[in-house]
Symmetry: C3
Subunit: 283 residues, 3 copies
């Protein structure tokens, strides 16, 4: 229980894409290396830490230790309090309906003017029976003589039932001295035998105006194989982006999966299509 | 004995500061991740290595492997010889009187025109009964046709007695083709029951002229709690910086400490104050 | 067999060089830290990964995770297929005759207009009795509307006999929209008791014209000590660079070696000489 764990994922794929020009590429799929651990402090209390770094195995870009997640904190019966950096509760809520490897998010965070990960955060996570809550505040640290600091607050709540879950999240990303960009999300997911279903609605009220986006997901698992199909319909007022993603996965083991994914994004005048065949390996 | 050890610290705090503008921040407190190991070569000889990297868990700045310490060397009855990069003997001498987390040094190295860490170093460490010595030479590697290379040499000696220690250090940091910046330090520390006392005097002779600085430290430990109070009075000629730091620490375990520190620096026209409440976790 | 392994080398030396100006330096000798592992998938199949990062212990330059090698793949009776980044088969063929630490290559790749390591690669390695083959294709990913993507393909074949090996390699590095830079290499190595011998001929047909380079290597091992002497005669048409390298090595253990190497490169008008005494430690 007091051990430091080295863990990670190396995920790479052969990728055909029409974004920009048509290209055949080797693409990184969110590869990472991390160190994490916890220490039993007695009385039900634990200290924990995590430092997770994104890596680009295909072309080795400059890296920043802890670029994905980095936390130190205490947890006990009261829940968990951490200081550090990482995905916000809002981001994690959108990922409830995002089983895809290649695009880290099916897209709801892309249009929400929220940060995918937040720096300089203090975070609380708690579980109360079937209900789990999370709140994260990210300090902007950019205060100047004439301008307040930026700040981003993000919160989520989730109710997990027998084979289903419902959840909601809010995010308010306020630049220093400007109007806050707000996002609201409600969603649900269910497992009926080998079938998984999910859906969410997002309302955003930000510098781009007020918009509503709808996400639907359906999947089916058969032994080691799984197929997932998801789509987002963005608000008509925006008219910039719709998205369909389909994935087929075959698990060679608990740690190793062959994946194929196809994504099509409507970007105003044409569709960007991307197809990838890859290998995802966790350790 | 032949194992590679993964170790580190993740230390973060909520920090209120008046430096620049008043701000509330999440601040990194010298977090690091390292790999170290040694190999028994027989006959009392060992090979050792260490690579320690500074990390910024709060905002993940670009990182450089081995940014804190990186050494390879041999050690035996004769002592230890290493090649690499790290804190100089002079820096380590100033840290004899620096129990504070947030400011890596109570400040003596700040005004000494010595490098906190030195690149391209060859270093010797030896122990002779109660006396330990260290010498480090750092090669500048910036020689050009008309200019000699920079060079920095640093040395320290320490006598450890029953509950007390006295130590001295010298540092000469010579830029290529310019006058050397020299610093001299003598200090002492003592433990009387739960009380710890320390003091040091630094003399610098460098591009800023000749100056003398005085450091005093007093602390008291009571079970898992400890309080430390330190101050530096800089030479009147300089008139730029005085410093008082107070810290209160509560150890949740050998590896996890809650810390609160307050620092006030006089910077010519006003005081910069900083207060932090943090969690320091080692692994 | 399912373990993740942390491994690496910290190699540093005191180096006297005449390249540029005469200098005494502490020089890094290809230090690295890596993580690797494999997972048994059953039926003779394994998943593997490797992420190896170059480090500069002497001065801690900015680092990129996986800067040396980074792979994920599957291997079985058919051989090994990997996606990632690393040394090409051509580079590895030149290293068959390169026992020196300080210069990663005795120089053949330096004049071949091939990349030492290739990004965005798909690679196959196979063994067929005494014959091993490797093929690597590196996708350029720089396609634009009017220009094809760059591409580099590299392949090698090696026959290993009783105390000898013969090998050949080809490399074709094609910039987008320009003529391919081709390189061809044939070589052989032999061990006769404590003596090792090797030689190779390289033919290049690239933007610098057509050239032929010859490499010779001879070495002798006596217990823990080894001496190696290598030279390259570059094609007369080029007249820019000849190279002689001599190395003396003393192993303190399987993991720790004291090395001394001397290299002299003729660079058109004068010789650049470099002498290094160093310590190489693996873990």
């Amino acid at each position: 229980d007091n051990e430091v764990v080295l863990y990670g994922q190396v995920n790479l794929g052969l990728n055909i894409t029409t974004a920009g020009t048509d290209q055949l590429k080797v693409s990184n799929i969110s590869s990472r290396i991390g160190f994490k651990g916890q220490e039993d402090l007695g009385g039900g209390m634990k200290a924990f830490f995590k430092v997770e770094t994104g890596i680009g195995p295909d072309s080795a870009p400059a890296s920043s230790f802890g670029s994905r997640e980095a936390w130190v904190g205490l947890k006990g019966d009261f829940g968990s309090v951490g200081l550090g950096r990482g995905k916000t509760p809002y981001t994690l809520a959108t990922e409830e309906l995002d089983p895809f490897y290649f695009n880290e998010s099916l897209g709801l965070t892309n249009t929400s003017m929220s940060n995918y990960r937040a720096n300089n955060s203090i975070r609380y996570d708690g579980e109360f029976g079937p209900v789990s809550v999370a709140v994260n505040n990210s300090f902007g640290e950019d205060k100047t003589a004439g301008k307040n600091a930026s700040n981003e607050i993000s919160a989520s709540v989730k109710f997990s039932g027998q084979g289903f879950a419902v959840f909601g999240a809010v995010n308010s990303n306020k630049p220093g001295g400007a109007k806050a960009n707000d996002a609201y999300l409600v969603g649900a997911s269910a497992n009926i035998g080998d079938l998984n279903l999910g859906g969410a609605v997002q309302h955003t009220d930000d510098a781009a105006g007020k918009n509503d986006d709808v996400l639907l997901l359906v999947g089916y698992t058969m032994g080691n194989a799984s197929v997932q199909l998801g789509g987002i319909v963005y608000d008509e007022d925006r008219k910039t982006k719709d998205q369909v993603t389909a994935g087929f996965y075959y698990s060679l083991s608990k740690r190793t999966t062959i994946l194929t994914e196809y994504t099509s994004n409507y970007v105003g005048v044409k569709n960007d299509n991307s197809f990838i065949v890859g290998l995802a390996h966790s350790f």
